[in-house]
């Protein structure tokens, strides 16, 4: 899927000109249309219950953690790789942060109270950096496939988490953390603000910095990019470190929302992050994808998820449907290519 503005042919063209563009990007335009269509359809099926404040709020609270994880997945996809270890990294970092906080905070106040929280978060980020360095080193400098590498680190990291906690949950976090996950600031969930604080710099980095430009080029052809004078290995290393750091932030947000940490949380999210990225215009083969598209597709997935919830769909049925959508989304450009609608 390319973000280059090819004029759409066929019935899309008429529809496209009717609606006008969101950002001038074809992919985002199509997503916006899909979003509107879905809201309309679900609204009809579910009725008024769909458009309540509660629905929007629940979407707004779940989106941030999923969004940050999707960003973590997205940058590795753009670089031509894949990071299957993001969920277990998020969990391990959350466990570490939760452990420190629950151990050191009770009884403290003031400076120590704040200080230990900062230490805990710093430790979480440090752990993520190490995992990212391991991933990045093995993928960039040893040349091992990202699938195998991140499968290995995913297993290892989850193993550490389970080993440390025996599968148990660590809970009992301070109010400040709970507020981070469940509170609102002028009506906007704090978690959403965290997402914005993370997503906006990422978007700028990808779109406007040499690092971002190099990432896209590497995703399409690493060797040619290397021959153009870019230290591709260092760029890839940084990408996996950033990916793990993002996962840690997501872990923090999840821990804040659930008021607990566990080695096996959110495993069904892995599929959703890949789905959100691919639906949002990220080419699974690398080289293309914009954050705006991923955010739009996340909103779409949230809408579907909430609707399914309201319709009392089992979470397993939802899982199955996500899988089907992933197939559909990746198949569509190939089918269109076959039918000669795009080059």
């Amino acid at each position: 899927m390319s973000n280059a503005p090819h004029p759409p042919r066929g019935p899309d063209a008429a529809l496209m000109s009717l609606i006008g563009s969101l950002t001038g990007d074809v992919t985002n335009r199509r997503l916006a249309i899909l979003l509107v269509a879905l809201v309309a359809v679900f609204g009809l099926i579910i009725g008024e219950g769909f458009f309540t404040k509660a629905t929007v709020q629940s979407m707004a609270f779940q989106l941030p953690e999923l969004g940050i994880l999707s960003l973590a997945m997205m940058i590795t996809l753009i670089s031509g790789g894949l990071n299957l270890s993001i969920i277990s990294t998020a969990n391990l970092c959350a466990l570490a942060m939760a452990y420190i906080m629950t151990k050191m905070l009770p009884g403290t106040e003031g400076f120590a109270f704040v200080g230990w929280q900062i230490v805990a978060i710093a430790v979480g980020l440090l752990i993520a950096s190490i995992i990212g360095l391991v991933n990045g080193f093995i993928i960039a400098y040893l040349g091992v496939s990202p699938i195998l590498t991140t499968l290995g680190t995913m297993t290892m990291v989850k193993g550490i988490g389970i080993g440390m906690t025996r599968g148990n949950v660590i809970s009992g976090l301070p109010d400040s953390i709970v507020f981070l996950g469940n509170g609102t600031v002028v009506g906007i969930p704090t978690a959403m603000l965290v997402f914005a604080v993370v997503a906006i710099p990422m978007a700028i980095a990808l779109g406007r910095t040499p690092f971002g430009a190099a990432t896209y080029m590497i995703g399409s052809n690493e060797k040619a990019t290397q021959f153009s004078g870019i230290d591709t290995k260092r760029v890839i290393l940084r990408i996996y470190v950033i990916s793990s750091l993002l996962a840690a932030v997501a872990g923090l947000v999840m821990m804040a929302r659930f008021n607990s940490a566990n080695a096996s949380y959110a495993e069904s999210y892995l599929l959703v992050t890949i789905l959100a990225a691919v639906l949002g215009g990220v080419d699974p083969m690398g080289g293309f994808g914009k954050i705006a598209g991923v955010i739009l597709s996340l909103v779409i997935l949230q809408v579907i998820s909430s609707a399914f919830n309201l319709l009392n769909f089992s979470q397993f049925l939802t899982l199955a449907i996500w899988g089907a959508i992933l197939v559909g989304v990746t198949a569509v450009p190939n089918i269109r290519k076959r039918l000669g609608l795009i080059d």
Partner: protein, 330 residues
């Protein structure tokens, strides 16, 4: 044939065998329970499930693809078969036939999506894993099946041998199935033209197409065989556990992949042997068993599996680099 031995010495299998031997010797010395007939017998029985799956995954990897949906396929095959077996009182043969057919059908879905829709195999199998698993748990409500046909519960026990402590050993269903599937895989890969075509496809896909290989047919065979092994594996697992649980098998994909990759198969395709996979599985089993016997918490076993995968693929990558000449020549 000194030439052949020299070749073997340089191979991945030799390295594996050495590591296994070191581990075995070490563990026999350090622990009491390792080198006993009972322990080894139990090990063989409990790893049969993974082993059968590994023999199927090996074929997929050789062809240049990957599949991680087989645990979901196995869960579905298990469920449908046992449900029908309980309801209609079917016999051995039909039971295995049903499981195989279910596995083959689900494998075919993978093949069609990968080949006809031209989607990468990792994405397809992540998707089908969730589709199959999600639908299974949704439809069954996650209920376990505890009652199995009595003949199934009993299993089989050939060449029974009772030792001094009155513990009996014999070739049970698991070991038999494991042997059969590894033999079958070996025959297909080394003794049939289709097997060589699969190697060829993994070695140079474009050349295979140019030479007129029916790539679609090969893909169907490869993924359906994976499904078949998933079906068979699911049954012997049900027999061992004496129950069918729809949620228990999913999550084990990585152990299977670990065994196959340790055994020398590559994600790029074209490489891998049955012997290597057997060794990879053995290494995994010995390692995990060793950890337990040494008193390391079983909660950490996943960590070690991951570590071994990373070490193994890193070592392979390093040695491949050393073999390759400078990157930059014309």
């Amino acid at each position: 044939m000194p030439e052949n031995f020299a070749r073997f010495r340089r191979s991945h299998e030799f390295w594996l065998l050495s590591v296994i031997l070191i581990l075995v010797v070490g563990l026999s010395v350090m622990t009491e329970g390792f080198l006993t007939l009972q322990n080894l017998f139990d090990l063989l029985t409990s790893y049969a499930f993974l082993g059968i799956l590994a023999s199927g995954l090996l074929v997929v990897l050789i062809s240049g693809g990957i599949d991680i949906s087989f645990t979901a396929t196995a869960s579905i095959a298990q469920y449908i078969t046992m449900l029908l077996a309980n309801k209609y009182g079917l016999n051995w043969f039909i039971v295995f036939a049903i499981a195989s057919v279910v596995g083959i059908a689900l494998g075919a879905i993978n093949a069609v999506l990968i080949d006809r829709l031209n989607i990468s195999s990792i994405i397809v199998s992540i998707a089908t894993l969730n589709i199959f698993y999600g639908l299974l748990v949704f439809i069954t409500g996650g209920k376990y099946i505890y009652s199995l046909p009595p003949w199934f519960s009993h299993g089989i026990y050939w060449f029974e041998y009772v030792d001094a402590d009155e513990i009996s050993y014999g070739i049970n269903l698991q070991i038999l199935a494991l042997a059969v599937m590894f033999t079958l895989t070996w025959l297909i890969l080394n003794r049939t033209n289709i097997g060589r075509q699969i190697y060829a496809l993994g070695g140079n896909r474009e050349a295979a197409q140019r030479l007129g290989f029916n790539v679609f047919r090969l893909n169907i065979l490869v993924y359906c065989y994976m499904g078949l092994t998933a079906g068979v594996a699911s049954l012997i697992q049900a027999q061992l556990a004496q129950s069918v649980a729809p949620t228990v098998l999913v999550g084990k994909e990585l152990d299977v992949l670990a065994a196959v990759v340790l055994g020398g198969a590559s994600l790029a395709g074209g490489v891998g042997t049955v012997f290597g996979t057997i060794l990879g599985l053995t290494l995994l089993a010995v390692m995990q068993n060793g950890l337990i016997l040494l008193g390391v918490s079983s909660y950490y076993s996943q960590f070690f599996v991951g570590l071994v995968i990373l070490l193994s693929v890193s070592a392979t990558a390093l040695s491949a680099r050393r073999k390759r000449k400078g990157v930059m020549t014309e």
